[in-house]
Symmetry: C2
Subunit: 439 residues, 2 copies
């Protein structure tokens, strides 16, 4: 089984070892996953996860929507639905997307079990083993887990403070084509990027769409955070100017609550048809109950006002985090996101974010090492800091603890300078530097 | 694109035609899917779908569980959960499975978005293109859609009134191995089979497990209907006697409600670990809200009493259907299920269930033609009749209409005997007869 990778290592007691599909070699526990267990201890301040602050959602609004759904449409809510999703909700999803410049037909919306499942279904439809998926470097960790699980190779295109760099995209595509690789699609989070916290400028959106068109590459635009802006809105979605070349993913997980698992894809007609078939095969239909409750909530509640409340919560937390970074770690650099959940921190060159993590947890602060967001070993000099879930006070405590860890590491390096006793790099493996243009 | 099949036919206007993965050739609309649209017209009596009769579920019990969840654990219900599922629910799932003789650890349970999604995840983990999946003939239609979507070939093993025939299983495995095919697993619905309505005897369960062991074949035991027995219980689950060689699938869709989309897999430890990773990649976590509501319902309500109520509802409907068949179609044969949702009807040899369907819908009755349940074109002489959703009165009307259609077809055949003008078989395609041992 020479094509089996790390997923099967150490499992020689598994009697079904030889039965797994070749694609399971791409299915390994993410670094974020292991962190969730560590960070759940109450004494640890977690700046690691991406959990929205659902406590800011008025409970009675949700309960009211549920009661009304069960009273008026209980038999529908409890039943199987269609593989495409509830028609009324798909109409309301058009209203949500209109806020970012998108016009489309409810007929081209497919409701999924979170936008994560749209990513999975899309990948199942498009990825053959050995295909290339282009993605920002860094990129969303669980998207890369999916791409790998269908045996794609992720090629990271660098970003700067204005997002993905068009010229770098051109060069990557040219090199990959010259190598005879099949580039299937570009996966991008253009607004308030996870993990980098940057936003793709309007001019670059147009330029990247043009590059994709020229090269016959589909664009998979993933936009979970677009409505969570802190000052100016993000530029309109890429889907707003290009309907045939873009599959757009949205979700209620960040603007309402992830516990319902409701997201969606807006896709060109032929792709939409296949997404429905894949959705039906995978889950028969997304949850009728969840869809009807969200539809009722959107009908009855001031949902745009609620998103505005979320914006205020996250803006305050981001400002707290940046102030704490300025106070405790003034010598480092970080991104200043205009929305979303994440700050991307760059460490001094001598430090390794992955090796440092256990020491951070010992100091009762958790973060996600940058390596989680690269398929190629990059990111060792970076850390993703989440400000979405911890309170401002916890954020200040967490950054203070992180400073203690970082400064302690630097002191140790100074003390042992030249002895090579810290963070030994294993022979035979290289750790590429993260792109220097991402700060 | 010679490896592309029917999914892409006629889509030459799709600009992404050349971009789909090879596996999309297995992704085609099922016959059942098209039927759902037809059967949804109110004047049609549908004996086609598999929708449980959720109106038999007391609405206040569900509303009470929801209110309590939101009041006491709202922040958890609205949040992301773990990829394995809520621990308390996994413990309760053990109690459900204990009713069919299964003992296991909650640590080996993985909660999924309906048991359908467990089928998808399992298939993703195990199927390489060209693998063989053994399944009963006929078999559950959307399981076969999944197997095909991962490019497996389904090999149907015949059944009789006691379920899958062990000697036929032995012969099929021997033939496939002689042909150099890789047989990955046996997919089986041993209790109250969909669509055949038969139940695998206890002796055969043991014999089939032994055959699987001898041949290094995993058993995927799908048991959505086991607790919906009408007289005697079904024999204990296959998983009750074999824990290392069986992956067991269960669901709350039939005993509670499908609208929540909550099912589960119970798997050997190493497989369970991979199922969790695949689940996380696909949906991050199953719905926290749905899981907590079901957990609360199982804690607060007399859920076994409620299942008993469902048993009574479905038993009455089955008896009504069999009585109507005896009255209106006495010359035909059908299965007499001791539980579940379905009767499998065998038509006179001259009739074709698929060709007859449009005429049935014209007479305002819908059914599922047997061909939907075969990967190889079999089933033309069979019909699946569902008694789960229509009322007893509707069932009588539906069977009376069906008799009108069938007798009209036979009259026509008698009139045009020898002219070959009805149901012409297209040249170049063969339609295998359904197995004669299934009645």
């Amino acid at each position: 089984m020479s094509d089996k990778g790390t997923a099967n290592q150490g499992n020689n007691l598994d009697p079904w070892y030889d039965h797994y599909a070749a694609r399971t070699s791409g299915l390994t526990a993410s670094e974020v996953r292991a962190l969730f267990a560590v960070a759940s201890r109450p004494e640890v301040v977690s700046l690691a996860g991406g959990m929205p602050y659902v406590s800011a959602l008025p409970r009675d609004l949700v309960v009211g929507a549920m009661d009304r759904v069960m009273r008026e449409r209980g038999a529908v809510a409890l039943q199987y639905g269609s593989g495409q999703g509830v028609p009324a909700l798909r109409e309301q999803i058009l209203e949500v997307m209109a806020l970012e410049g998108i016009s489309g037909s409810a007929d081209d919306v497919v409701v999924t079990t979170g936008s994560q499942h749209a990513l999975e279904l899309f990948s199942k439809l498009f990825i053959d083993p050995g295909d290339i998926v282009l993605a920002e470097g860094p990129s969303y960790v669980t998207a890369m887990v999916i791409f790998n699980s269908f045996q794609a190779d992720v090629d990271h295109v660098p970003m700067d403070e204005h997002g993905l760099i068009p010229q770098a995209l051109r060069e990557h595509i040219a090199r990959l084509k010259a190598e005879g690789r099949r580039v299937k699609f570009l996966y991008t989070v253009p607004s308030f990027h996870n993990p980098a916290g940057v936003t793709l400028s309007w001019e670059r959106r147009l330029e990247i769409l043009e590059i994709a068109r020229q090269n016959d590459i589909l664009v998979l635009e993933d936009n979970p955070y677009g409505l969570l802006y802190f000052g100016d809105r993000a530029p309109d979605a890429m889907r707003s100017v290009e309907s045939e070349g873009v599959v757009y993913l949205g979700t209620f997980s960040k603007t309402l609550a992830p516990g319902f698992r409701v997201g969606w894809a807006l896709a060109p007609h032929a792709i939409r048809e296949k997404l429905i078939l894949a959705n039906e095969a995978a889950v028969l239909s997304p949850s009728s109950f969840s869809q009807l409750v969200i539809s009722q909530y959107l009908s009855d509640a001031d949902w745009q006002g609620q998103i505005d409340t979320f914006r205020g919560v996250y803006r305050e937390r981001k400002e707290t985090m940046l102030a704490a970074l300025g106070e405790y770690l003034p010598e480092l650099s970080w991104t200043n996101p205009n929305g979303g959940f994440y700050v991307w921190l760059t460490l001094p060159e001598r430090l390794d974010s992955k090796a440092m993590l256990p020491r951070a947890v010992k100091e009762l602060v958790a973060y996600t090492p940058g390596t989680a967001f690269y398929a190629d070993g990059g990111g060792r000099q970076n850390i993703r800091l989440s400000f979405c879930y911890p309170t401002p006070e916890q954020i200040r405590v967490g950054i203070r603890r992180l400073a203690t860890v970082i400064n302690g590491e630097l002191d140790l390096l100074d003390t042992f300078a030249g002895t090579g006793s810290l963070n030994p790099v294993r022979p035979g493996r290289t750790y590429p530097n993260p792109p220097s243009d991402l700060r």
